[in-house]
Symmetry: C2
Subunit: 206 residues, 2 copies
DNA sequence: AAAGAAGTTGAGCTTTTACTCACATTCGGT
DNA sequence: ACCGAATGTGAGTAAAAGCTCAACTTCTTT
């Protein structure tokens, strides 16, 4: 039975720095080498700490990736929660526009790391639940939809959430990483926003 | 410099069978264990051939995955080409509907394998070009768009292709793998089709 | 049926990776 | 200044993975 939690909690500042350094190195190596070429040894070398130190705080590669993901997800979620509060009383058009903008910003925080985490990290075993963040975004979308139309049936809501979430997620993800020129000016943001608006207005007869 | 082409071409039926068995085993192991837990040794055991045989035909893991991808891509492309010929004179609504249907079918050929190949296989080095198939689909979309509106500017066409391709790809992919209940009846196919139609009609004033 | 070509085998070598532990160093409190 | 707790070290062991090659079997051709 593999353990995934840190073995020891860092207590002094010194060790908190070490943990931080190790996580930064994990990100470096992940981006540079890809998930399966990443090893704890490489991470330790990159971090400039001994392999022993690394194993004080992380029992294996999965734990490192999980912790790194958590750290990134927290930054991303802060950004998103903030925006959803801001738009919680805005008209549909503005709500959509701001939400799309924040998704783009989110993907720009650490695009390469984000890419490796969502595209390469195996969604098996303990890493299955790596996308806590997606679940939270989905909840926020659900709230917004119900705010706009109280009498929405659950099944219909699920379908709309599925469509809207995946559209926005994939278009921003793909654009940030592979078609950055589409983000020059605001062309793509305009396009995504108006597409989502078109869809929601039609579905909700607004 | 790593070599990724097969070392020897199989000539007799016997060895073509071996190669086939090896590729089938590669798929099995990939699906069961994930990309980074897959090793040439495990594949050889799964296939019931000696490790030596495997290395006669494939120099390393990447070559195996590349060959497997090619084999799957060919099946998928056949399906898609056929459909695009069928719809090449149909009205917009039918064109879209049939295209969405074929994308769903495509993802259903070997869904688990498809998932591993697109989600986990590192897009680095020789495997960068793994998505030949996407490029071909994109070309077919371009043709269809130009058929519908001759005077489309290249930049505008690029944007629309980007949006349409990614919407359809991600919604079908996610649905087949993670929300199969949405494919009961034709609800999701209807939804995707009407969304794409809505978008294209607006963009092209049709 | 002879013989060379094609195909197969697996023991075993090398390299990489995971992980431990006995020891050394630093820190925080007294 | 001293001590115990926290932290850091890296050589070293074990397991896994990558890969080769010389010997063996089967096929194809004449």
């Amino acid at each position: 039975m593999k353990q995934i939690k840190p073995r020891k909690r860092p207590q002094q500042k010194r060790s908190r720095d070490t943990v931080d350094t190790i996580l930064n190195a994990t990100a470096e190596v992940l981006i540079r080498e890809g998930y399966d070429q990443t090893s704890t040894n490489k991470i330790a070398v990159e971090a400039g700490v001994s392999i022993g130190s690394l194993y004080h705080y992380f029992p294996n590669k999965e734990a490192l990736v999980l912790a790194l993901n958590r750290r990134l997800a927290e930054q991303e979620l802060d950004l998103i929660r903030q925006t959803f509060v801001e738009v919680s009383n805005a008209p549909l058009r503005d709500t959509i526009r701001k939400s799309v903008e924040v998704m783009v910003h989110m993907h720009r925080i650490e695009p390469e790391l984000h890419r490796v985490l969502v595209e390469q990290v195996p969604r098996m075993g303990p890493l299955r639940k790596i996308n806590e963040i997606d679940r939270q975004i989905i909840e926020m979308i659900r709230e917004q939809l119900l705010r706009l139309k109280r009498e929405l049936s659950p099944a219909e809501a699920e379908l709309m959430i599925f469509v809207v979430f995946n559209i926005v997620e994939t278009l921003t993800h793909q654009a940030v990483l592979y078609q950055p020129q589409l983000l020059q000016g605001e062309r793509l943001i305009d396009e995504i926003s108006s597409l989502v608006e078109l869809y929601l207005r039609k579905k909700m007869n607004l």
